[in-house]
């Protein structure tokens, strides 16, 4: 492979550009549980969106008590749920009740349970089938739908109807109103923590953004933690970050797909970070042949068409990297390190 007067001699090479999936079919979600939480489903259960999968508790402590007598003597295995017993008052001998909780271990005829307070419901973010329930660890749920993967999500899981803002600029607080209550909005390039807090305050269920600065992410998480520390539970809210921390617009294939599901019920989930939707009746957007996107570097976010492989090229700071020639939307052709490119499949 060589370069002849700056022109490439190899027209292939697109397979050396990292592929990124536009849609993941039937993803498996992992919903975390902690010791003391109580799963309400079992393996194989078919659930609908909104079904309560588990009861989670914010304040969990260990309670120990002597092994119950009589018919209750059989010890549940570690991770089993102990339903608790009522206290009894008898003339001869009263008996204290035992709290419900998750059995941790049994030492010298004393049971140790994880017992929680301040219950929160963990609802299924979408229709699906429970693949695995592991008490104290989590629930795996295979979704009967599809997902648009992002790089990270915070908060959640959360569910609402999708509203896409037409412009790809930053979302300003003035654009928010109570009409968006219950919605998950697609806001474009970037959003700040104050706007996210406003979104939550207006009753929105989530935000999809191309990027979220790490400072804004931390500020938002701190705000979330303060709210969660309060006695009353808060409504679910989540932020899905499609690309990263530095500014770049939403990729055109993703934007086209989001426009196609505008108005539908969707959900943001955290593990894996995705926007879940029902693909029934949705046309998968066609991506132009050879469409590539500059993922990193000074031109991050720009899109163009793959022209050819350039082999090894010397870039700024004398770094030698394998490069490709890309024709940008303004017609200009630029050499871009292959590692800075991505394509959607």
């Amino acid at each position: 492979m060589s370069i002849d007067a700056g022109r490439p001699v190899s027209a292939g090479g697109l397979e050396l550009v990292a592929a990124r999936r536009l849609i993941v079919d039937a993803p498996v979600l992992r919903l975390p549980l902690s010791p003391g939480d109580r799963a309400l489903v079992i393996d194989g259960d078919v659930v609908a969106a909104g079904t309560t999968l588990a009861r989670r508790y914010r304040d969990v402590r260990v309670e120990s008590f002597p092994r119950p007598e009589g018919a209750l003597r059989a010890s549940p295995s570690a991770g089993g749920w102990w339903p608790g017993t009522e206290s009894t008052r008898g003339r001869a001998r009263g008996r204290r009740g035992t709290p419900p909780g998750e059995v941790l271990y049994d030492v010298a005829d004393r049971w140790h349970l994880a017992v929680g307070e301040h219950e929160e419901a963990l609802d299924a973010p979408a229709d699906g089938v429970v693949e695995e329930v592991r008490p104290g660890t989590g629930i795996a749920l295979r979704i009967a739908g599809a997902g648009i993967p992002g790089v990270a999500a915070v908060g959640g899981p959360s569910r609402g109807r999708l509203v896409t803002f037409p412009a790809d600029g930053d979302l300003r607080t003035g654009a928010l109103d109570v009409g968006l209550a219950g919605a998950i909005v697609v806001v474009g390039a970037r959003v700040d923590a104050e706007t996210l807090t406003r979104c939550r305050a207006t009753g929105m269920r989530g935000v999809v953004a191309a990027n979220l600065s790490d400072k804004e992410r931390r500020d938002f998480l701190a705000s979330e933690a303060r709210q969660r520390a309060g006695y009353h539970g808060i409504a679910p809210f989540a932020v899905l970050i499609l690309d990263g921390a530095v500014r770049r617009p939403i990729a055109s294939p993703v934007r086209a797909l989001l426009s196609g599901i505008d108005g539908r019920e969707v959900a943001i989930v955290v593990d894996p970070s995705m926007l879940i939707f029902d693909p029934t009746g949705i046309e998968r957007p066609e991506t132009a042949p050879g469409l590539v996107r500059i993922r990193s570097g000074p031109a991050a976010g720009r899109e163009g068409t793959w022209v050819a492989s350039l082999g090894i090229r010397r870039f700024r700071a004398g770094v030698r990297l394998r490069a490709g020639l890309v024709r940008l939307d303004d017609g200009s052709e630029v050499a871009v390190p292959l590692a800075d490119l991505e394509r959607y499949v």
């Binding site: 050396l16 570690a78 030492v107 660890t137 400072k215 921390a245 700071a317 770094v319 590692a339």
Partner: protein, 531 residues
Amino acid sequence: MSSPADVRIVVEDGTATVAVSILSRIEGRWRLVASEAAPAAIGVDPIVAELVRAVRAADPELARDLPPPSQAADLPRIVSRGRLAPGAAILAASERQADVLAAAARTAGLVVRAPHSAPDLLGAIRAALRPDVAVVVAGSGPRPTSDERGIADELVAALTSIAARRTDVSFVVAGPLAARIAAPDVRARTTVVDDPAGPEGGHALREALLEVGLPADDTRRGIANAARELALLLELRIEVVEVGHAAGMRLLAWQAGEGATSTDARVAVLAEGALVPPDPPDELVDAIAAWSPAVLDRVRLRDRLVEAYETPWGDLDGEGATLTVAAARAAVERMVAATPDISALPAADLLVACGGAWADAPAPAVALALVDVARRPGAMQLGFDHARLLGPLGLVADADERRALIAGAIDDIVLPLGTAIVPRGIRASRGTIGHLSLSVDDSISAYIELEAGGVHLVDLPPGATGIARLAVRDAVDLGARGREFEIPVAGGLGGLLVDLRDVPMRLPSRPDRRREALAAWQRPLWPDADR
């Protein structure tokens, strides 16, 4: 190359990038023919095909027996794999013991999930049930106090409970607590370490954790094996600093045993030695900024570091390149600080840089980065595992084949960066403090006046050897104190580095002056850095 049996595709399949090389036996000796690194998402086969295509285009004679690119995936492979650092849960009978166990786990490549000691066993169980936890480390002191004895039964019950719920975790148990474990299924999954708080106990515990935590095909296990082979083959003390996406590694290997026929090594793997750990704290961001010659405010720098964690293969030219090497410097600095036991051992003769973090930096810049952070008084050669071969080759199961591969390709595996001379006890003064003359083939090839506080670079190409004669006005420490030294040196892409910045390095405290100093030292090593 005579047949495909004389070709090996060597793959270091990392968490972020994959490095692929073609090794071929040429005239009875294994040689590196081609190598390439790319984002892991691309997969190995397209890279193998591209390499074969490139070899066929560049040297048809050499590639005569290579299959067509479309069939290159069938060539025999040697593969090592990288993984995200697994989690560890700590169950200890006391706070002090929890600290001992957690410290060992951190240097064994494990991410400690909230160390907990009794009575907060709930926190320990919660940590142990996290899906990313692969190892549970438990223990009590060698002579348990009455409090520790009282809690021992609960610890064992908690361990048994975790074992029942997590059939996929291993246990490492230290001290007399191990003797209390009665359940056969738990005992079968338990590695016992006698006294982790003893003089060599922390090291023994770390080794046990490394053995349990690193899978058989893990790249870092291979690097440790290969470094031992290098120590034996070169008869040198070898230090390796590896900086990767998921973790970093520092090790020292040396010849040992009767007649120096075997080797010994001290190995540490640190999740905090990753190029950029996930969710970097402010101190880490500041430490990277302190090594960067570019001005970046903390918010912008943090965003770029978050991106570097997500896509470490991107943004590798221009400012991104210097930022990556600054992050690699900071990673080595963290590893050196976390492994005083390795620093306390006699210094290495050859320091080798490994890992994807260095992959695209100019070789001389890598040499200076190593000297900046792995500072020891004395002279040492510098090398670079540029094709990331050490990991996979160290995993070849057959010892004879492994040795033949490493011995044959040794000149290709470790790219010579040069020799660094780093004196300690340099007095800050203006003007010259002495001079250095370099003799190659019995003639003086270079003579330089030495100035305190700077780095002098002398051309000495790869393959060349010579004698450096150093004469200074005031005595310095170069392993031994003196004013005149004769040091055998070997060449490399960075040549001979004479580093008069003292040990530890003196850097201006004002950020702007510090950046100026870093830029002045680094500018000659980064061609076109200003473009």
